[in-house]
């Protein structure tokens, strides 16, 4: 038997707004959480990009300056 064949009709009386409210609260909580996590992910990506830039700059300066010690000229990756 199809699930939908025995489904009762959705009544649109006063209770509807409360039920909708409860499920919207649930959905809103999940969405707010996902939005916060998305902003944190963006921050982590920024940190990673900044780290890549700093590592490249350090490599560049090590290559440009021949008087640096061997330890400083070691490849970083």
């Amino acid at each position: 038997m199809s699930v939908f064949a025995i489904a009762p009709a959705l009544p649109l009386h006063a209770a509807g707004k409360y039920v909708a409210g409860a499920y919207i609260v649930f959905l809103a909580l999940v969405l707010i959480y996902v939005a916060i996590m998305a902003s944190r992910l963006a921050r982590t990506e920024r940190d990673l990009a900044e780290l890549q830039r700093d590592v490249l700059a350090q490599r560049q300066s090590a290559a440009d300056d021949p008087h640096r010690t061997g330890r400083e000229r070691e490849p970083v990756a």
């Binding site: 699930v3 939908f4 025995i6 489904a7 009762p8 959705l10 009544p11 009386h13 209770a15 509807g16 409360y18 039920v19 409210g21 409860a22 499920y23 609260v25 649930f26 909580l29 999940v30 959480y33 996590m37 944190r40 992910l41 982590t44 940190d47 990673l48 780290l51 700093d54 590592v55 350090q58 970083v76 990756a77």
Partner: protein, 242 residues
């Protein structure tokens, strides 16, 4: 990818599928309750949220026990995230519960109901977890004290649940009991699928949060290794473990 990121995609997909299925069952399959009518549909989100939140608090306590036994900070982070997620689910429980109370009893809150009041007490207890962590600056002491708190508060949850179950004068509906309760088959199936969906959501968000924390820590450790200790700015005081 961190350890926590493994399997996250599959878990997320499973969560979406089960929650979508649960919503379809709630609105198109489960029959209307003879007494409460359409309002009873709130039950399928409110109760799974409550059960998952309470289990999350206990889970946080169990992880805190492992932290104190092993001394490994990763268990403190896991415990922190478990309690953090349970608090979010608890807020969802309170909000959906008050909506149901207003629709069913005509009041947003009924102080004489032991279930409502006890859940609020549990929430207020765990609401002090983050301020407690924030009040302790030393990370080692912070994690140790927080674990002790998580264990004591986590043990309070089942005791509180038992006390409420034993209370006689209640108005809260009792549809789930050890002897099977009084949910008819289609309602029981819908409830179980909803419970599985919400539990999966909790697990997914827990793993997601852990993966995010582990990634941030790895970026910081990588910076320290590649560019030296001076390149890393000192951590600000925080309730979150670092």
């Amino acid at each position: 990818m961190t350890t926590y990121g493994r399997g996250l995609r599959g878990l997320s997909l499973a969560t979406v599928v089960v929650i979508t299925g649960a919503l379809a069952l709630v609105f198109f399959y489960a029959p209307l309750d003879a007494n409460q009518g359409f309002i009873q549909k709130i039950f399928y989100i409110h109760v799974p949220l409550a059960i998952t939140a309470l289990c999350g608090f206990v889970f946080g306590g169990v992880l805190a026990v492992i932290h104190l036994r092993t001394g490994d900070r990763k268990w403190d982070i896991r415990s922190y995230v478990a309690i953090h997620m349970a608090l979010i689910f608890g807020i969802g429980t309170l909000l959906t519960g008050t909506i149901w109370a207003k629709a069913s009893w005509g009041h947003w809150w009924v102080w004489s109901d032991p279930t409502l009041t006890s859940f609020l007490i549990v929430m207020l207890l765990f609401a002090t977890y983050q301020p407690l962590r924030f009040s302790i600056e030393d990370p080692e002491r912070q994690s140790r004290y927080a674990s002790v708190f998580a264990i004591v508060a986590g043990a309070f949850v089942p005791l509180n649940f038992l006390a409420v179950r034993l209370a006689q004068a209640y108005v809260h509906p009792r549809v789930l009991t050890l002897t099977g309760g009084n949910l008819p088959g289609p309602m029981r199936l819908t409830f179980l699928i909803s419970l599985i969906g919400v539990a999966l959501l909790y697990t997914t968000l827990w793993k997601y949060e852990m993966a995010a924390k582990a990634t941030r820590m790895q970026v910081r450790a990588l910076r320290r290794t590649l560019l030296g200790e001076d390149s890393v700015s000192p951590l600000k005081r925080s309730a979150a473990p670092s």
